[in-house]
């Protein structure tokens, strides 16, 4: 098979992926107060990965990102469940969340919420799910 000349796509991807990733992290963390959140953040990260897979081939990407996305999905679900169970230790019912304000060195007065942990689980599950689906379909030759 002739190797396609996709140098522009490669160059653009190399610049675009970090930007997309940074933006996805922003989306994820701003979810508490602004548009965004675990679901969108996760999907955006997944789309960055998809772009990588499209621009470079699957094997190359897989050699560089040695992550099994099925495991990522499982970890996400587990994390979400464990955050729910975690509230038992504070004598609260399943999936109760709490938040408080802390003075952190660099960020100043910051709100930390347990809901973020749950959201991390959601994001990981979304990333794992979408990438696993895309990869398994695209590998099916």
């Amino acid at each position: 098979m002739k190797k396609p000349n996709d140098i522009i796509l490669h160059a653009v991807t190399k610049v675009a992926v970090p930007i997309i990733l940074a933006f996805s992290f922003h989306l994820f963390f701003s979810g508490h107060h602004n548009p965004g959140g675990g679901f969108i953040g996760g999907l955006a990260i997944a789309s960055a990965l998809t772009l990588l897979f499209l621009a470079f081939d699957i094997e190359t990407v897989r050699a560089n990102i040695g992550v099994d996305f099925k495991v990522v999905a499982a970890i996400g679900v587990l994390l979400a469940v464990l955050t729910g169970v975690g509230s038992f230790f504070f004598d609260a019912s399943f999936l109760s969340h709490t938040f408080d304000y802390f003075n952190l060195p660099i960020f100043g007065k910051t709100e930390l919420a347990t809901a973020v942990l749950f959201d991390v689980g959601v994001a990981l599950a979304v990333i794992g799910t979408s990438v696993t689906t895309i990869l398994s379909i695209s590998e099916d030759r």
């Binding site: 999907l43 997944a46 979400a80 799910t129 696993t132």
Partner: protein, 799 residues
């Protein structure tokens, strides 16, 4: 969380670590040594409860689990629970110790074995210490599942899989029936707690659901405890490794049904139906098991049938003893209460002698390579310790002194003799049946005990038929059966110690009327004069010996019954027919065309949504308060309509995909106009990923053909798509004008105060409706695993 709660949870938590322990320490240290600590610790801590319970106190703790549904994780310990707890952990300790020598650390996948074993232990402790019926049900089914896994431990063998499936089908069937019974009880009493049900016995007895609830719960108990005709699963369960047979299928799990009957005696006892069903089924099982045990040639099968028969004996005693509740407190009640005491006593005794027998059979199997009595013989001199242990075990089972089985057997005879003189429940007509059948079964029990002992150890040693040269087992394997066998003798000499500390508290738990009136004091003694019971025993020994000697002369009788009409044949027939029926039925609608499945899904959608709109009178369209439509909105909608119409008319697939994409992006545009940035963002990203997926699938799809679709399909598709469109439009329009449900605006108001979040959408997702989101990501993950396995499996199948 109290210590009692913690005890139930410990095995589950420890089970999590077993695979790692196995991975890191095999083959240096046998995984069993780590597991051994768990039951030992639990047993020792349960011992500490004995003085408290013996004083007549009980332990009760409650932790809210799902308070909104009235489900609390309530633990309760009384004498009955304590006995079972001690059996579970005590025999568990011995079985784990035994398994360390029985299960090879080089060949067996021990991590599976011990994880299942610990799951079972935790679940079984949960069953006996739980006060909430729904929690009890969950633990109950967990014991069935762990039993299934353990029977299928050697899943490479066809018979293991068959036995596992059989036990699973039968016990889960019973479990579901039991659940229905529990739900009926809670409908009557409006509580899920047993304690509170016990206070409403009058209400329950008067209710019309009394009998159905009782029968359903008994179905659960009978399937679990292998009562006739559900007993067929137990012999097939013998495919499990012998430590498991000793533990689950003789000492503990099969007694869960007995526990259930005992536990519910305060509610149902004292009624004729309860009395008759339990005592007659128990009696039939006793007879059926003992007669069938005699014809077995496999030692484990023999023990399995003997377990069935002994379980029937205990069940029968519980049934007879329930009459005590009919009389209320008094002399007559005391007479029948003795039957209950005998039941609990025999329960303990059976666990000791049957446990040791199973372990010895395991040793024989392990050291000679066979369990077939036609190949065995003459092991007396080669395996002297095993021989001694078998004498103790089988003589106890046959009901001979000086072993504990003698005491409980005598008490059983007392029970049936008393029952024959009963003048209630029309017992005056059938009363004599009880001692007669009990006596006949005991004769057969005696015969199979002798078969077990003499066919194995006496006679001629046939080394040519054995796989290995027989020799005595290592000491580690012998410790557990020796301990159990010494208990068999100790209990005979000091029964009243046991009675005072364990049996009487349990009796009070089963018959609470004695608690209010100062308890009951039953002395168990080995010698009670030349009475009927003793003569019955002498008769058993005489006739039993005679029949054993002339066994060959009459055992041909068994061949007279056709194999076609056995319970097993019936089971196999039913299973085969059911499989064929469900296969045919499934093939009717599982066509393999995604087209059809989409039709089902959307048809259900139309019926459910349209139906509920209709039923709840939800159709209402009120446009008077709507804002005027702006130019942008109108433009976007027109674009959407054009895109939507393009899809079905498109000539190529690529056009269709692009049109769908356009539609999606326009929707997100609409979200932007309506100032819903969250939705717009999500929609945009979803569209992007979907288009990527579409392009991937595009590669695999066949050529795009139009005309080949028959008219019938087109018509169905048209109806379905118009239906969905109409329903969704109606819902969208009505949503604004009807108030079927509470508005969600409270979330808007409270999100910052309650969740500290300014983004309401996210606060709803992760906090207010967190469980929804959690289940959603479950679904997502399962779906992606489904895609993965479908594709990978297909590839693997093709190669």
């Amino acid at each position: 969380m109290s210590w009692l709660h913690t005890m139930i949870v410990i095995p589950f938590i420890f089970a999590l670590f077993v695979p790692f322990l196995y991975k890191f320490f095999t083959p240096r240290i046998h995984t069993g040594w780590f597991v051994f600590i768990v039951p030992l610790l639990l047993f020792l801590s349960l011992l500490k409860y004995i003085p408290t319970i013996a004083e007549g106190k009980t332990v009760y703790h409650s932790v809210p689990w799902m308070p909104s549904l009235g489900i609390n994780y309530t633990t309760y310990m009384d004498g009955l629970g304590l006995i079972f707890g001690l059996l579970i952990t005590g025999i568990g300790t011995l079985v784990v110790l035994y398994s360390i020598y029985y299960m090879s650390k080089h060949r067996e996948s021990l991590h599976n074995f011990y994880v299942y074993l610990l799951l079972f232990m935790g679940a079984m402790l949960g069953v006996v210490f739980t006060d909430n019926v729904l929690v009890l049900y969950v633990f109950w089914e967990m014991t069935s599942i762990s039993s299934f896994l353990l029977i299928a431990y050697w899943y490479q063998r066809k018979k293991s899989r068959y036995g596992a499936q059989k036990s699973m089908l039968i016990t889960i069937f019973g479990g579901l029936a039991m659940l229905a019974g529990f739900i009926m009880l809670s409908m009557i009493t409006e509580t899920y707690n047993l304690r509170e049900m016990f206070n409403q016995v009058d209400v329950i007895t008067a209710h019309s659901l009394f009998l159905p609830a009782m029968l359903l719960i008994l179905l659960g108990a009978f399937t679990k405890s292998a009562q006739f005709p559900f007993s067929i699963w137990l012999p097939d369960a013998m495919e499990a490794p012998t430590p498991i047979s000793a533990y689950l299928h003789s000492a503990t799990m099969v007694k869960a049904g007995i526990y259930l009957v005992a536990r519910f005696t305060p509610i149902f006892g004292g009624n004729a139906e309860w009395f008759w069903v339990i005592s007659s089924i128990g009696l039939i099982t006793l007879l059926y098991g003992s007669i069938n045990a005699v014809k077995q040639t496999d030692l484990k099968a023999l023990l399995a049938y003997s377990t069935i028969s002994q379980l029937g004996l205990i069940m029968c005693l519980l049934g007879l003893g329930s009459a005590a509740l009919y009389f209320g407190y008094g002399d007559e009640a005391t007479v029948y209460a003795a039957a209950i005491l005998a039941a609990i006593f025999h329960l303990i005794n059976h666990s000791t002698f049957k446990g040791s027998l199973f372990m010895v059979v395991g040793i024989i199997d392990h050291e000679t390579g066979t369990r077939d009595i036609r190949k065995l013989g003459g092991l007396m001199g080669l395996m002297p310790i095993s021989f001694t242990l078998t004498i103790i075990g089988s003589f106890a089972m046959a009901g001979l002194p000086p072993f504990n089985g003698f005491l409980s057997k005598e008490m059983f005879f007392t029970g049936v003799l008393n029952a024959s003189q009963m003048n209630i429940f029309s017992m005056d007509t059938f009363g004599l049946l009880f001692p007669t059948i009990a006596w006949i079964s005991s004769v057969f029990t005696f015969i199979y005990c002798m078969i077990l002992l003499f066919k194995t150890f006496a006679g001629r040693y046939q080394p040519s038929k054995l796989e290995k040269a027989a020799h005595e087992a290592p000491l580690g394997m012998l410790i557990s059966p020796i301990l159990l066998a010494s208990l068999v003798i100790l209990i005979f000499f000091f029964p009243n110690v046991l009675s005072h500390y364990l049996l009487q508290p349990a009796l009070i738990a089963i018959l609470p009327i004695f608690a209010e009136s100062g308890g009951i004091d039953v002395k168990i003694s080995a010698w009670h004069g030349w009475n009927t019971e003793l003569f019955m025993t002498l008769g058993i020994v005489g006739l039993g010996t005679f029949m054993y000697i002339y066994l060959k002369k009459w055992s041909g009788v068994y061949g007279l019954f056709s194999q076609r009409w056995t319970l097993n044949a019936g089971y196999d027939f039913a299973i085969e027919r059911m499989e064929r029926f469900s296969e045919g039925f499934t093939n009717q609608y599982m066509t393999g065309f995604i087209r059809d499945y989409v039709v089902y899904i959307f048809a259900v959608l139309i019926v459910m949504l349209g139906g509920s709109l209709w039923l709840f009178d939800g159709i209402a369209m009120d446009v008077s308060n709507d804002a005027p439509i702006s130019l942008y909105e109108g433009g976007v909608v027109v674009g959407m309509i054009i895109a939507a119409i393009t899809v079905p008319l498109a000539k190529s697939r690529l056009t269709a995909i692009i049109a769908v994409g356009v539609l999606g992006y326009l929707v997100s545009m609409l979200f932007v106009i309506f100032r819903a940035p969250d939705l717009a963002l999500t929609q945009l990203v979803v569209e992007t990923v979907t288009v990527a997926l579409f392009l991937l699938c595009f590669y695999h799809l066949p050529e795009f053909r139009k005309a080949t679709v028959p008219m019938r399909f087109k018509l169905t598709n048209l109806i379905i798509s118009i239906g969905v469109g109409v329903i969704v439009t109606i819902i969208a329009l009505s949503a604004n004008s009807t108030r079927l449900f509470e508005p969600i605006s409270s979330y808007f108001e409270n999100s910052y105060d309650l969740a500290g979040a300014k983004n309401i959408v996210n606060a709803i997702l992760v906090d207010f409706r967190g469980i929804d989101t959690m289940l959603e990501i479950f679904v997502l993950t399962i779906a992606s695993l489904g895609v993965y396995t479908l594709i990978k499996l297909r590839l693997a199948g093709r190669d």
